[in-house]
């Protein structure tokens, strides 16, 4: 079994087989990409590509696998440039480095040349000769195009020259990557304005996240994890609401799960947050203090915020906030959400939900409690410690419905209800009313997700919650039931949903039966 930490996965060091076996969810995109490149290599129109995906989205895995397939299966030449571009400060040096890698040279053939223009021309001649001699195209993989154009190939003349090389009988096809749209490709006067064909790497879906963990476990021959895959799947389904589908985070999660699936989802989430802390801390070092301030406020808020609201909370002007949000949007930290009642404004939310939760856990006490209750809800919803809800017999459903009605009406004759739930209190008080209230709240939190998974019981669950709150039996709001009730009563359900953070939105959608990808959905539908 590999002992390597999952965050250290380096595609360039992995074997072809490992790359293939652990590549999940993007096969259609990779195969389409390969078809396009092969067609470009054989035809007159040559596109150059920009693969955009946030950090950790699997760009390196994608480009590494693609380039090895082209090399091994189709005989292409491949030159993969180092991520940091330390040796490149001009178009001449770029072409020189491509040549060195393509030909596998130890020393540049132009080491004695002092004139960069000479290196430029001679390198182009030699690259063209390589292609002519081998009769195969060449792919150049260049990561961090944004940084490359902003910090390395800064001279306009150099960018224009590279564009000319890429357009006039190009000696290679360029496949660049970036974490976001590159200023030098969207600025109208820039040589590379709208020059690249863009392909986006989207997040993995829930099923793909499970597939990736399974694929990694299989590759690592982690029998322990594979042996309890059903349990792991349920945990992944629950934790997906918090982690999203960023492959790097999924690999971090995989690392956590390898140590065992704890009974408590919240603990496991905290382990995951510990695992990703250095990664998020590193990300924040590249962001200005004002942007961090905006990010923090957005993270700690109870839901997505408008720029004006962020301005009020941060004491920045709305234009300042908007400028920061624009830059954060370019870096894929934030994205626009829905619109509030006032249609002129727009909500913004953090793109990486785990990053937001990470910030919440570090900075915001009130939201921690909500998070705890929400993890508890998802844990129960996807729980493996009880029978399948689909197995509820019609008779059992009737019993549960009666219990719900009884619960809603019984207090202060709560003892019957408590007997039904077979709970006792360990609060250490003798006051039967206090014991009963606490036990009732616990019972509610523990059992309601299970009942709510049965579609026909959902309205009763919410109604029960409403009555218990109205009558003061539940003394505090319990998310996500409180949020679900608020959304249900809002004039526009969609708008009210858009005002929630994604994981809360998803929990509410589950409770309201509006989730399209509900876990075990098909089973529940048939049960109902």
């Amino acid at each position: 079994m590999s002992q390597r930490g999952p965050l250290l996965f380096n595609p360039s060091r992995a074997s072809f087989e490992e790359l293939e076996k652990t590549f999940v969810g993007r096969w259609p995109q990779l195969e389409a990409f390969e078809r396009d490149l092969l067609a470009d290599g054989a035809g007159p129109s040559t596109r150059h590509w920009l693969l955009i995906g946030p950090r950790g989205s699997g760009k390196s895995h994608f480009t590494e696998l693609l380039s090895r397939r082209l090399r091994q299966n189709h005989g292409w030449g491949v030159a993969r440039l180092p991520e940091e571009h330390y040796q490149i400060a001009s178009v001449a040096e770029l072409l020189e480095q491509i040549l060195i890698r393509l030909e596998g040279l130890k020393v540049s053939p132009f080491a004695q040349e002092r004139d960069p223009r000479r290196v430029e021309e001679l390198a182009i001649d030699r690259l063209r000769a390589w292609r002519q001699k081998h009769g195969k195209p060449c792919l150049v993989v260049l990561e961090n195009l944004g940084q490359f154009l902003d910090r390395k190939l800064t001279a306009r003349r150099d960018q224009s020259r590279l564009r000319e090389v890429l357009m006039q009988e190009p000696p290679f096809i360029l496949l660049a990557t970036a974490t976001s749209y590159v200023e030098a490709t969207v600025e109208h006067s820039a040589p590379f304005y709208d020059f690249f064909q863009i392909s986006m790497l989207d997040e993995l879906s829930r099923e793909e996240v499970i597939g990736l963990v399974q694929a990694r476990a299989q590759w690592d021959q982690d029998e322990n994890l594979l042996g309890r895959m059903e349990q792991v799947k349920l945990r992944l389904e629950a934790i997906f609401h918090f982690s999203g589908g960023n492959p790097r985070l999924v690999l971090a999660l995989y690392g956590v799960l390898r140590h065992g699936v704890t009974e408590d989802l919240h603990t496991q989430l905290l382990e995951l947050l510990d695992e990703v802390t250095p990664y998020y801390q590193a990300r924040l070092t590249n962001v200005s203090p004002q942007m961090v301030r905006v990010l923090t406020e957005m993270a700690l808020a109870e839901g997505p915020l408008t720029p004006a609201e962020i301005g009020r909370r941060t004491r920045l002007t709305t234009p300042q906030v908007t400028a920061n949000i624009t830059r954060l949007g370019d870096e894929r930290f934030v994205r626009p959400g829905g619109r509030p009642e006032d249609q002129r404004s727009r909500y913004y939310e953090l793109t990486d939900r785990l990053f937001r939760i990470w910030m919440q856990m570090r900075e915001g006490e009130p939201v921690r409690q909500r998070l705890l209750l929400l993890t508890e809800f998802f844990q129960r919803w996807y729980g493996w410690d009880w029978e399948e809800p689909g197995s509820e017999s019609p008779g059992r459903c009737q019993d549960l419905l009666k219990t719900l009605d009884h619960l809603s009406e019984a207090f202060p004759d709560e003892h019957d209800a408590l007997r039904v739930w077979q709970l006792d209190s360990s609060s250490g008080t003798d006051d039967p009313q206090l014991i009963a209230r606490e036990a009732l709240a616990q019972a509610f939190r523990a059992h309601m997700p299970r009942l709510a998974r049965v579609p026909r019981l959902r309205p009763h669950v919410l109604e029960c919650y409403r009555r218990l709150r109205e009558r003061g039996i539940l003394t505090e709001d319990i998310p996500p039931y409180s949020d679900a009730l608020a959304v249900q009563n809002a004039p526009s359900v969609d708008r009210a949903l858009s005002a929630l953070h994604p994981e809360m939105r998803e929990a509410v959608a589950l409770l309201l039966g509006r989730a399209s990808d509900e876990a075990g959905d098909s089973k529940q539908q048939s049960a109902s």
């Binding site: 007159p44 129109s45 003349r157 006039q168 109208h188 040589p191």
Partner: protein
């Protein structure tokens, strides 16, 4: 073979679709004289140039250069000479050294003797090394003079010509004007070879030349302005691209794509097709349906990639419109809110703001010639929905109509 979805790079061969009439029109203009090809960036100028290069009319030879990175007239001459020498007939002329002027022999033939065939870069270096900056007018004159010994017609396509001229003007105004006068002189009818230039580029260099009272250096050129595909052809184009990409789609999808983009410019249609295909893959849709298009446009096309795409349209009002800046802004704001307006409604907008002295027709005509709007009969609208939606989202002071 149906075209593929080429969004950005020049489309060539079967990917170059629906421009047969443009190609023919340009060849016809070239028979009359040299041509200036104009259109905004990404409207397909380079693709059209490649079409001329890849399939020349009989008796024509074509050589194409992209000169945006060229910084001096001497460097331009080097590029031109090295490229022309890739044509066998031209090479033949320059190998007959006894018939050439001495300085030209020294420059070209010397370089030719030292370079392997096909090594364009090496040839450029040799030519560059043996050319002194002050020599370029004399050698250029001799170089093109020798071409007159050829038969037939030669087309030199120079992409990004205005951008190069801009650089020349920044570096050495006098030298640049001298260069432009020389280029113009080469465009005069000659006795032997029919030599034509096709100059293309997205930067409009003419206002700068007008300010220098030098517009005459370009006013002999025939003009060809690229236009978007008309609606029916645009729908046909989208249909063909979807077929070329093996995308299953329902009947109304191509029309919806064209209507959503609000333009027949190939590039914008292809950007939208690209994003629809990405969304399709992501959502695992078996077919691209009409209902998929608008959400894909809003979620994938608008936003970060579109934010800077048209900002120059906004800034250009300030730099180029003078007293017409404010009325232009008002009209565009109105058109962003109410996508189609008739001229009378626009006149009312100006009246409401006390701008009754502005000649509306002139202003609309100017906005039309600068690719902001199109006018059809009495109706005015943004040139594309890409631009309209950019304006709506990014231009200051715009609010949606309730």
């Amino acid at each position: 073979m149906p075209p593929r979805n080429i969004a950005g790079a020049p489309a060539r061969g079967p990917d170059f679709w629906g421009r047969e009439r443009d190609v023919e029109a340009v060849w016809k203009l070239l028979e009359r004289g040299s041509v200036l090809l104009t259109a905004p960036r990404r409207w397909g100028k380079s693709s059209l140039m490649y079409a001329l290069h890849d399939q020349p009319w009989p008796a024509w030879s074509v050589r194409q250069l992209d000169v945006e990175y060229v910084e001096t007239p001497a460097q331009f001459l080097t590029e031109l000479a090295a490229n022309l020498l890739q044509l066998d007939p031209v090479l033949g002329v320059f190998k007959k050294t006894r018939e050439l002027p001495t300085s030209l022999v020294r420059w070209v033939s010397g370089a030719l003797s030292e370079v392997e065939v096909g090594a364009l870069g090496d040839l450029k270096l040799k030519l560059r090394d043996s050319l002194r900056d002050e020599q370029w007018p004399e050698l250029a004159e001799q170089l093109l003079g020798q071409l007159q010994r050829l038969e037939g017609s030669l087309l030199i396509v120079i992409d990004e010509f205005p951008m190069m001229v801009d650089t020349f003007l920044d570096k050495d105004q006098e030298g640049c004007l001298r260069f432009l006068r020389w280029v113009r002189a080469q465009r005069r009818p000659q006795q032997g070879l029919m030599l034509r230039f096709l100059l293309g580029g997205s930067v409009n260099i003419e206002p700068r030349l007008e300010r220098l009272a030098q517009e005459a250096v370009l006013n002999d050129l025939e003009r060809f302005q690229l236009q978007p595909l008309p609606l029916d052809r645009a729908i046909e184009f989208v249909t063909e691209v979807l077929k070329g990409e093996s995308v299953p789609f329902e009947e109304g999808t191509p029309r919806k794509i064209v209507e959503t983009a609000g333009t027949g410019v190939h590039f914008f249609l292809q950007v939208l097709i690209n994003e629809c295909m990405s969304e399709m893959r992501q959502q695992r849709w078996p077919r691209l349906l009409v209902e998929h298009i608008q959400p894909a446009y809003e979620s994938r096309v608008l936003g970060p990639p579109n934010r800077a795409r048209f900002s120059h349209y906004h800034s250009r009002l300030k730099s180029n419109y003078g007293a017409l800046e404010e009325p232009a802004r008002l009209l565009l704001a109105e058109l962003a809110r109410a996508p189609v307006s008739n001229v009378d409604e626009l006149r009312m907008v100006l009246l409401r703001h006390g701008l009754d002295k502005v000649e509306l027709d002139d202003l609309v005509a100017r906005l039309e010639s600068d690719y902001y709007v199109t006018r059809s009969g009495g109706e005015v609208r943004f040139h594309s929905n890409f631009l309209k939606d950019w304006w709506l989202r990014n231009a200051p002071g715009i609010r949606r109509k309730p």
